[in-house]
């Protein structure tokens, strides 16, 4: 405040670190560019749009590399440089990597899906929506105030509704979109209400400031603050598809184009639990006695309901493969919640959060891999029943072996070593926090889940019914399957790559 003229500008205009915000920005800019370009690109060249988007996502992912050198913050309060809206710390980078990498894989699946759909899906809109949703999801982990958080959340989910309902003339698709939309909007409204209560009682939207001020809320505003906390949490629980907010999942996944289901199963989950982590661990650590038990109960319910749902799927029902993956993703969301709940009880919250992050990275890679193989099978067997996978090994051995590997990773059994150790970290987070009962519930769930994963795996190697038909694998699908496969196998050899997040500071 010594030199008058420049300081005025400096006090009003926040400086922007463009490199720090590059990853989400690139995704958003490329999305807009593709939307505009769609108007000018000739019909037979539409595939270009897809490849542009893939390149954009790849570039966004690569731009995470220069950020690795240290924490960066931008959009900081001019008065207090420590309070910022956007922070690119380790936590942010890891989640951004998960989100952008996941979106990249989903985009690779989409290239083939759009080609196969033969103009039934509007390409320009599709890519625009996918990229904007990815941009929102990438912004979310970096946001450090509740307003940015909610904006990011909406940017991530609003395009997703449209994507789910994009199949023209498909009644199931529109119904799914409507279900998804209605329940999601309700949840957003609820959490907005919660946030407004929090703002009213603390007078700030910045997470770190809330953490300080919420401890000394005026006695009269206590109830308001409590209600605010609960309502905010409810909104984010919906996004992770935690029970009882899970009912939209199976219908939505079946109705949506398959790459979008894959996208939602990973990025949708990532968005939900990141928001939860930010709200609980960063903003409201002093309310651990409120959200801790609630999240623990939610985790137990979610995994049980998800796995029970997956168990009930009949192999011969239409779309049962996607349905099974959808239900299993609900179950997996339950495991993701366990360490967050444990963070409330353990002395070292960051360590617990690291377990969630490590598990999510593992889950992202192998679940997208499973979806990629499902997309491959779905090209010839449009009903995509679990029964259609019988004898896959005879017709296409490598995809079958990889699918088996992915499923065993999800189940957490060797040779899926990374799946096993990711589960071990989650278990150890629970045991460490003395949540013995939750660990036991999870143990039972792991066994239930094993049943359906292994049943599916076993089916792959059965003798095929009739002549095995050769699947021709298009290049983008090959790339997606290969990428996830290499990732899964590399992680199984060196689990430290993802597990290191459990013993180093994230924030």
């Amino acid at each position: 405040m010594s030199s008058p003229a420049p300081s005025l500008a400096a006090s009003l205009v926040q400086s922007v670190d463009w490199l720090a915000i590059a990853p989400p920005t690139i995704a958003a800019v490329v999305g807009l560019a593709v939307l505009v370009a769609d108007l000018f690109v000739a019909e037979h060249r539409k595939a270009l749009l897809g490849w542009t988007s893939v390149a954009g996502l790849a570039a966004a992912t690569l731009l995470l590399l220069p950020l690795l050198d240290g924490d960066r913050s931008t959009f900081c309060l001019t008065g207090d440089a420590a309070v910022c809206s956007y922070t690119a710390d380790r936590f942010t980078l890891v989640i951004q990597f998960l989100v952008l990498g996941g979106a990249l894989l989903a985009a690779l699946l989409s290239v083939t899906a759009l080609k196969d759909a033969r103009r039934e899906l509007p390409e320009g809109e599709y890519w625009f929506l996918l990229l904007s949703s990815a941009a929102g999801a990438a912004l979310l982990p970096a946001s450090r105030d509740l307003a940015t958080l909610i904006v990011a959340l909406e940017v991530a989910s609003l395009p997703a509704f449209a994507l789910v309902g994009l199949k023209h003339g498909d009644r199931r698709s529109s119904e799914a979109a409507l279900k998804f939309f209605l329940s999601s909007v309700t949840a957003t409204a609820v959490s907005l209400m919660g946030i407004s209560f929090l703002y009213a009682s603390t007078g700030t939207l910045y997470l770190t400031q809330i953490a300080d001020r919420v401890q000394s809320v005026d006695g009269q505003l206590q109830t308001l603050a409590h209600t605010g906390v609960v309502l905010t949490l409810v909104g984010f629980a919906f996004k992770t598809a935690a029970v009882p907010f899970h009912f939209w999942v199976p219908d939505t996944y079946v109705g949506a184009p398959l790459p979008i289901a894959a996208y939602l199963s990973v990025i949708g989950k990532a968005v939900g639990f990141t928001g939860l982590i930010l709200v609980t661990v960063v903003a409201l650590p002093s309310y651990a006695d409120v959200w801790g038990p609630a999240l623990a109960a939610l985790a137990a319910l979610t995994m049980t309901v998800g796995n029970a749902g997956a168990l009930r799927q009949q192999a011969t029902r239409a779309y049962s493969a996607v349905r099974l993956l959808a239900w299993s993703s609900v179950g997996q969301a339950g495991y993701l919640l366990v360490p967050i709940a444990a963070a409330a009880y353990s002395g070292d919250a960051e360590k617990s959060i690291g377990s969630t992050v490590a598990y999510a990275l593992m889950y992202g890679a192998v679940n997208l891999g499973a979806f990629a193989v499902a997309a491959l099978v779905g090209r010839t067997k449009s009903l995509n029943r679990v029964a259609d996978y019988r004898g896959l090994y005879a017709s296409s051995p490598l995809p079958a072996l990889l699918l088996a590997f992915f499923l065993l990773c999800l189940a957490g059994l060797p040779p899926g070593i990374i799946g096993l150790f990711a589960k071990v970290t989650v278990f150890s987070a629970a045991v460490d926090a003395s949540l013995g009962w939750l660990a036991v519930v999870m143990a039972v769930n792991v066994v239930i889940a094993l049943f359906y994963y292994l049943q599916w795996t076993a089916l792959l190697f059965r003798a095929p019914e009739g002549e095995p038909e050769k699947h021709r694998v298009p290049a983008p699908l090959t790339a997606a399957i290969a990428l996830t496969g290499v990732l899964g196998i590399a992680l199984s050899g060196a689990p430290q790559l993802v597990l290191r997040f459990t013993d180093t500071g994230l924030f």
């Binding site: 071990v424 278990f427 049943f451 190697f461 013993d503």
Partner: protein, 524 residues
């Protein structure tokens, strides 16, 4: 015995664990030129024999290079960090407790591969069969070689998928249900075990078995020990199996192909009892002492229950299946092993380890023999086999009959054969259990278990009478007697059974110092 460089020993042990895995990957690839053999099937089966053979040789060299003067010392040990985040280290090593089991595993797997080379079980391609067999071998060997709790768990789980597929794909009647039952039971047990292992690791601050054993439970409170022993004990007891958690076993054994049954009985069951000795006894002694009388009681119930079930199966008109009968006899034999461990005395634990090896040899042989019998007659149903008078195997295939009788008497614990020492020492241990355990209770258990040996003798002799003896009808065709490859596969088992029976010191000399030290508090 012979002096081998320590780094060579380290390499050999690592090779024993990793070699089969590499072999499994290689089995899935097409055979290279020059190794194509007569057909792809023959080539891959031969590959299986080669790899398991190489592993067996490595294991034998390990045994030879092992310093027999210091069997209580961990030898050939490797210790490298693998996952620092979880504090998981690749810590391998062998001592007098694990060495015999390691060699037994390598031997049985080799014999199984050899047997399958000539007599491939009916089912899908041999390629997958060999790959699964090798993965299974790697998991089994790793279980006995690792010294890190989480790696132990990993190895423990690694055998599940291959064994599931071996039963479900190459098995007999009712295989898919039996395979499911096997994997669900074991998995439910092992996730509970994981919780116990994590509890120990987190409370003690390390997953290293050596460090934990040296600590001898001093850094764990009694309540932590009790919970950990309960959780880990359940996981191990399912695998062992201990009555009443045994019910997966008879079905799995009956449905599995011959090779599967041999490895299941010969090695997989030992992984459970090995865990009791290696993990629970030294790491959580206080917790184990709390449960020891219950473990002993359940072990004794298992002995009696197994024998009675066998007697019922052996009865005329009971439609007893010979494979199922041997499976139930395993429940009884493993009961002796558990009784020995639960005494917490050097005598009892040594007996348990001896009985482990003996059971692996004898029951492995019996399953081979019954498998051969099934190939020849098409059934293992005792009533169909024996009809009114008896199957008269002595007359129809004298060598096969002779071997079966040999296996049966070895199994019932005839002095001079391997089955005798282990069970006698286990009973002996129960006669004077460790301090702090109720002697009257253990004396009762000992008396009941001794009665169990009588029952065991009874049903095995009934089996011999009904299968081997009997009037030889004129019109029945002779059965093919023992073929040369069968001789090759069975002779080592017969010889070792006799050697272990006549010269028990060979094994006890190895295990005793290690056990003494384990019970006294850790390894030096």
């Amino acid at each position: 015995m012979i002096d081998i460089n320590e780094s060579v020993m380290q390499f050999l042990l690592a090779f024993v664990v990793v070699g089969p895995l590499l072999g499994a990957a290689a089995a899935l690839l097409p055979a290279p030129p020059g190794l194509k053999g007569k057909s792809p099937e023959q080539a891959v089966l031969r590959h299986g024999v080669t790899v398991t053979g190489a592993v067996l040789i490595a294991a034998i060299v390990l045994a030879l290079g092992f310093d027999h003067d210091q069997p209580s010392k961990m030898q050939a040990s490797t210790d490298i960090s693998w996952i620092p985040a979880l504090d998981v280290r690749i810590h391998l090593g062998i001592d007098g407790i694990s060495l015999p089991l390691l060699v037994l595993t390598a031997l049985l797997t080799f014999l199984c591969a050899l047997y399958s080379y000539f007599k491939m079980p009916a089912g899908p391609t041999p390629k997958a069969f060999v790959a699964l067999l090798l993965v299974l071998e790697s998991g089994m060997l790793a279980t006995f070689a690792v010294l890190d709790l989480l790696l132990f768990f990993l190895a423990f789980e690694m055998v599940l998928i291959p064994m599931y597929f071996l039963i479900a794909r190459w098995g007999g009647e009712g295989r898919s249900q039996a395979a499911w039952r096997f994997i669900l039971y074991t998995l439910l047990g092992s996730v509970v075990m994981l919780l116990g292992l994590l509890l120990i690791g987190i409370k003690a601050g390390t997953f290293d078995m050596m460090a934990l054993a040296t600590d001898n439970g001093r850094s764990l409170t009694t309540s932590v020990q009790v919970i950990a022993v309960l959780a880990i004990g359940i996981g191990l007891a399912v695998k062992t199996p201990m009555w009443p958690l045994h019910s997966w076993l008879p079905d799995a054994h009956t449905a599995a192909p011959t090779v599967g049954s041999v490895l299941l009985a010969g090695v997989l069951l030992k992984m459970g009892t090995y865990g009791f000795v290696r993990i629970l006894l030294p790491i959580a002694p206080d917790g184990f002492r709390t449960f020891a009388p219950y473990l002993a009681a359940l072990a004794v119930v298992g002995i009696i229950y197994g024998s009675l079930a066998c007697l019922a199966l052996a009865k005329q008109g009971a439609k007893g299946d010979l494979k199922r009968l041997i499976a139930y006899s395993s429940v009884g034999h493993m009961g002796f092993v558990l009784l020995g461990i639960s005494t917490m005395t050097p005598t009892g634990v040594n007996g348990a380890l001896f009985a482990n090896i003996a059971h692996g040899l004898i029951t492995g042989l019996l399953f081979f023999l019954v498998g051969a019998l099934k190939d020849r007659t098409g059934t293992t149903d005792l009533d169909t086999l024996a009809e009114e008078t008896g199957a008269a195997l002595y007359g129809r295939a004298p060598r096969l009959g002779g071997l079966l009788a040999f296996g049966a008497v070895a199994s019932l614990g005839l002095p001079g054969l391997a089955g005798f020492w282990g069970e006698m020492l286990a009973l002996f241990g129960a006669f004077r259990p460790a301090d702090g355990l109720s002697r009257p209770a253990f004396l009762t258990f000992m008396a009941i278990a001794a009665f169990g040996t009588l029952l065991t003798a009874a049903y095995l002799l009934v089996v011999v009478r009904r299968v081997c003896m009997g009037a030889l009808p004129q019109d029945v065709p002779k059965l093919t007697d023992v073929r040369s490859y069968e001789f090759a596969a069975w002779t080592p088992l017969v010889v070792l059974t006799v050697v272990a029976g006549l010269w028990p010191k060979a094994l006890l000399g190895l295990s005793d110092p290690a056990v003494q030290q384990l019970l006294a508090g850790g390894t030096r």
